[in-house]
Amino acid sequence: MTAGVAHDADHRRGVLPSLLVLGLVSVVALIPVIVVVVGGLDVSAWRSVLIDSTETHRALINSVLLALRAPFAAFIGLVIAWLLVRWPIPGRGVLEVSFWIAFMMPLLPLTLGWSLLLDEYDGLVNQALMMLPFVEGPVFDINSLRGITWVHMTASTVPVMIIMLAPAIRQMDRAQEEAARMSGASPAQVFRQVTLPLLVAALATGTMLGFIRGLEAFEVEQVLGAPVGLHVYTTRVFDLVNWEPPRFTEAMALSTAVLIALVGLAAAHRRGLRGRDHATISGRGMSTGELTLGRGRYLISAVLFAIIAVTVMLPAAFLVLGSFMTLFGFFGIDDPFTFEHWRMVLGDSNFLIALRNSLVIGLGAGFFGTLVCATLAYVIVRSALRYRAALDFVAWLPWCVPGILLGVGLLSLVLSSPLLGFFYGSLGLLVFAVVISQLPLGVNLLKSSVSQVSGELEAAASVCGAGKVRVFFEIVLPLIRPMLVSVFVLIVIAGLRDISTTVLLAQPTTLPLSVLLFEYAISGAKESAAVVGLIVTLIILAVALLARRAGLMIDKPATS
């Protein structure tokens, strides 16, 4: 009886702090989403935007069509990652770093580079092809579904898949592949009959993540699609919010509908993974080395270097060229090149303000976000708090909230709440937005890192009298430092390149470089956009290379 009472008392004591932590995280991570959902609770808005509007129907169809690139990107990413990890390809280290850099690079500047090459009317590739006797009209059109898909595939989706799938391949037992090879199977047969079946789960995860991220894409679609009336769900939301008078209720209704679909997809995927055996590492001792390959490795290396040259170097080079063009894309005018846009941008006080803002947002989100993510990861993995699973779910939920929707939610929140009015127009709001958007990635990476730290070390510290906070700061954090720094770098880069989350929140005094670049791009000042884009790219590359030089990345590179 007494034991039962004591247990109940413990139970009650445990419930309160658990609820407090859960409530706090929910407030931070979910309130902007709840604001959107509540704001969209209007039957007439649902009807007008979802049922009656053909524009919305077209936008939703386009979103799905564009997101369907995910399985193709996952497959291409898997093949490239497998080649890089498993085969002794010359220059493999350089290749892997190159794909890592491509993964880090901001999308919009590369989009500008591609538009110089593949514009239907002035694109240099089209002009060159049309000189051929058998080509009559333009072959490529960057302002189309195909063009947008190409930009995403080359600049983002495939590199992301490579970075994501490489660790899974690296951890896979090589013995089965070796056995197949020794039995006379060709590399293609090994891949098809051994590697692929073993990595189906990783491939499915990559595809689902890519599909959901594809539905959330914004800036490339706005810059390339909107001028020709090609809208996707996110640009339609942007359009509705920017209507005069604004159609917030419809924007929120549309956002809510898509959010339900995204959460449903992601939850179904989580559920699908649960309970299945996806083990690629067995307990029999494991071989993770390389397979042998003849001269074909030189050919594969050349092909991969060519892919990097075409998909990363080429648009980057044309971005540089574009920044010196008198009129972006017009090569045929007198004096097509000038330094004028560099002079104008660098002499513009708005640029310096934006540069400072970007650094504050990136570094602020990096420090604050890393601390929050580490704390949450520790609580989820180590604490005895109840509702940890719910906490884990809440911390993961912003992952399927598109940036533009998060921006709408935060904007509505700070402008409708008298207590939060001071937050509006401050850099703190932008830092906060970036932290929320990066919460899922940071928490998940740090969860895996915290799990690797033996509980005995913390127990020993506790026995010696250290409190939980001290254990966290003096034992756990130093032990997971490499991953902490990796998460920090990832959040800093996300803060530097983010557009969709911050575009509705930024004010003249808080405008970051990424939004300045976006504003230049959509207002027809693409020359200035190219200048700012190049500067943003260089800053991000510097951060990424510094991090890489310090050996900081999620996955260790292959040694060549």
């Binding site: 020709v228 005069e244 009129l327 894309g329 004010q507 027809g524």
Partner: protein, 371 residues
């Protein structure tokens, strides 16, 4: 005796005038001091490259106040939408708005969003009616939240809208004699316009076409010919010059001229059945309620309306100033200057038009474009 009385009366009146002038001058000096103490002003305006730079440089040189620019990249709609929410939250971030003056009515639609310019315009060189082209300041009176004598916006320019342009590489400018020529099936999918669903040049041009030719024409043109809608004043002429579209409707000179000067084939066409539309363009200015720098905002508005401010604005926006003493008319392209003696059926910024026919057209146009 009578002569003495007249003399005394004249002296008194003259003294009063001198006192009033001195009072106005001292108020203006006091305002400049207060504005300089605030040190900065946040101005929202059209997103044309170079405009911010030119205004900031000249304004800072004249007043010592630094100018922070908020470019209206998505047009005035997004700004107004945000302003309404900022007003509700008491967190207005911008002091002054430059652009189409009728947007002032939208800003005051739900609650007072702008300040009465009678209290703001104090520089004697601005308030003097004789310096303005029509012998008076061009004020947009009243608002949904104010009385009829409320000074909602000051309009400082007047020009002929760039209703119709063609890319002469694809369309012979002489072949377009009537607006109805645009209904030729050859042009389906080849026409682009500034978006008539949003505030700005596109909406006024669509209303003008509605007035001239009726609803069916507007439907056949915009919907039947699959006109592409642009929000950006910069991208629309660029894509017409590039050849993505052959015909451009409602383009503005600050977007067109940098391309035309580089030899790109953009040619203004004046159809015989549509002589053009008079507009104030981006020359409207208003002071936002609750802005962070109220005095600096007021200084900027007086400066903008001064000779110096108008010279900068006229050359950057390429819109003919309403001030008589502003030179450099050569900054404004020939096609945008009103032709003496020509009858323009609509002045888009006249309250009669805005509150009369324009409102009716808007309701009808919304129905056309939404379906």
């Amino acid at each position: 005796m009578i002569a003495r009385l007249i003399l005394i009366g004249t002296a008194v009146l003259g003294g009063m005038q001198v006192a009033a002038d001195e009072d106005a001058a001292s108020r203006w000096a006091e305002l400049k001091r207060a504005g300089a103490a605030e040190g900065r002003v946040v101005v929202a305006g059209p997103a044309f490259p170079g405009l911010r730079d030119a205004l900031a440089r000249a304004f800072e040189e004249d007043t010592g106040i630094s100018l922070e620019w908020r470019p209206l990249t998505g047009g005035p709609g997004p700004f107004t939408a945000q302003l309404v929410r900022e007003l509700e939250a008491g967190a207005v971030q911008t002091d002054v708005y430059i652009g189409g003056s009728t947007i002032c009515y939208s800003m005051n639609r739900e609650r007072p969003g702008t300040v009465d310019l009678r209290k703001v315009l104090v520089d004697p060189s601005v308030t003097d009616p004789s310096v303005w082209r029509h012998g008076e300041l061009s004020i947009l009176y009243g608002s949904p939240s104010h009385d009829d004598d409320f000074w909602c916006a000051l309009n400082t320019a007047e020009w002929v809208m760039g209703d119709l342009f063609v890319n002469s590489r694809y369309v012979d400018p002489d072949s377009i004699r009537s607006w109805h020529d645009l209904l030729d099936p050859e042009y389906r999918g080849r026409i682009a316009a500034h978006d008539p669903r949003h505030p700005g040049a596109g909406r006024y041009t669509a209303a003008y076409l509605y007035e001239l030719f009726g609803e069916e024409f507007v439907r056949r043109l915009y919907v039947g010919q699959e006109v592409a809608n642009y929000r950006s004043y910069g991208e629309l002429p660029t894509d017409v010059a590039r050849g993505r579209y052959w015909i451009g409707i409602a383009m503005v000179q600050a977007g067109v001229e940098p391309l035309a000067k580089r030899g790109l084939p953009l040619v203004r066409v004046f159809p015989e059945d549509g002589p053009g539309l008079l507009t104030g363009g981006f020359g409207g200015i208003m002071k936002l309620r609750g802005g962070p720098n109220p005095n600096a905002g007021a200084v900027f508005i007086n400066w903008w309306a001064s000779r110096r401010g108008q010279e900068v604005a006229q050359c950057e926006l390429m819109e003919l100033s309403l001030r008589n003493d502003v030179g450099r008319a050569d900054c404004v392209p020939e096609w945008a200057r009103p032709v003496e003696g020509r009858d323009y059926p609509i002045h888009s910024y006249s309250p009669e038009h805005y509150f009369g026919a324009f409102r009716d057209y808007m309701d009808r146009l919304s129905a056309i474009f939404e379906n």
